[in-house]
């Protein structure tokens, strides 16, 4: 009988979320910020699936369905975000988010 329960998974999710948030707020590299967003989305997914497993019970899959939707949206977000980063790099020749503060060239 395992003693690992819902709170342990939620704690892992909390740590993932906090570290992703730190990545977002401390990085100057736009790609690094996108990595932090991926971590935050993963934290949400861990919570979804943990609640699905421990709270929703057998036969119900809402948490897993939403985790798949989150994965899909994260893939779309990564593609669009990195395309925007590349476009910013083509325009400003840098991806330092503190220097790219103009909406025009």
């Amino acid at each position: 009988m395992s003693s690992i329960g819902l709170p342990h998974f939620l704690a892992v999710g909390a740590a993932l979320f906090a570290l992703g948030m730190v990545t977002v707020v401390t990085r100057r590299n736009a790609v690094g910020i996108l990595m932090g967003v991926e971590l935050i989305l993963n934290a949400a997914n861990v919570n979804f699936i943990a609640f699905n497993h421990f709270v929703e019970g057998p036969g119900r899959l809402t948490g897993q369905v939403f985790s798949i939707f989150v994965i899909v949206l994260a893939a779309a977000e990564a593609a669009i975000g990195l395309a925007i980063v590349l476009a910013i790099y083509q325009t400003f020749r840098t991806i330092d988010v503190e220097e790219t503060d103009l909406l025009r060239e």
Partner: protein, 291 residues
């Protein structure tokens, strides 16, 4: 070999050798002390316990001192800060071992056989994945090199996939590996390679919120959320199932969640076209300016 007339800086090789020897000696000392503690049949008294902790502390200090020559060069540890840092690391490791369960128990008890009932294999697997996930995320957050951040992100993603397996979610686990590791991480690596490297050490953090502030933010968030996770009265089910979920997910996507499913496919198509358009237009403009 270390004493030969080297053309490089004279003391560097000897210092590296000394630090390597310190690492080796600390590993031998720590491992030996732990093994002696675990397998000794003598009842543990307070004195042996204090000696054990002191030996482990010294081993950890020597290990950190030795490691400092090879890694963490930007944070030179020596003198009082080294001992303080080592004490903090020792405390963290001790608490970790205590909470992991059973590691501190045998120290206070008397026999190695006490370890076995404490460590369930499933708990060990969970801890492995949890440490992998959090370690990868910490590497992503705190690494100075953006490439190392990306590789740490790989470990975070793989650890999360392992947690999914542990939670009986087989399809999300495979999707995690395929999409995140096989897709998103490759995209991120491409973006890193295609853009100029920024983030040499003075430019790592942004001006408004530096790394200590970020670490404090992380600590506060983790403390609050973990407290909530452990204190809230969750209505958990008695026996969670580990049935395969792919068929159920397929049925759910095509019946109950058909509209969101179709929206997701439209979003993916729009993202695909949008990414191509956004990335391509600027390349064309720059090529025109080059011409």
């Amino acid at each position: 070999m270390a004493n030969g007339p080297q053309p490089g800086p004279p003391g560097a090789l000897r210092e590296a050798a000394m630090r390597g020897l310190a690492i080796l000696a600390s590993l031998l000392l720590g491992g030996g002390v732990i093994l002696a503690r675990l397998f000794s049949r003598a009842p543990a008294t307070l004195e042996t316990w204090v000696v054990f902790c002191l030996a482990l502390y010294l081993a950890l200090t020597a290990f950190l001192w030795g490691l400092n020559g090879f890694a963490f060069r930007r944070l030179p540890l020596s003198g009082i800060p080294l001992f303080l840092f080592s004490a903090a690391a020792f405390g963290v490791l001790f608490l970790l071992g205590y909470f992991v369960g059973g590691v501190a128990g045998p120290f206070l008890g008397d026999a190695a056989s006490r370890i076995i009932p404490y460590v369930h294999i499933a708990d060990a697997v969970f801890l492995l994945f949890a440490v992998m996930t959090i370690g990868g995320a910490a590497g992503t957050a705190f690494s100075r090199n953006i490439i190392y951040s990306a590789w740490s992100l790989l470990f975070a993603f793989l650890g999360v996939a392992g947690l999914y397996v542990f939670l009986g979610a087989d399809f999300p686990a495979v999707a995690q590996v395929l999409i995140y590791v096989g897709g998103v991480l490759v995209l991120i690596l491409f973006a890193i390679m295609l853009t100029k490297q920024i983030g040499e050490d003075p430019k790592l953090t942004n001006a408004h919120l530096d790394l200590p502030a970020g670490a404090a933010l992380a600590l506060i968030t983790v403390a609050t959320l973990t407290y909530m996770a452990f204190m809230a009265p969750w209505k958990t089910v008695a026996s969670p199932s580990y049935e395969p979920t792919s068929a159920g997910l397929g049925v759910a996507f095509l019946t109950e969640y058909l509209l969101p499913f179709e929206f997701a496919s439209v979003v993916l198509l729009a993202a695909l076209v949008g990414a191509v358009v956004i990335a391509r237009k600027e390349i064309k403009e720059t090529s025109e300016t080059v011409l």
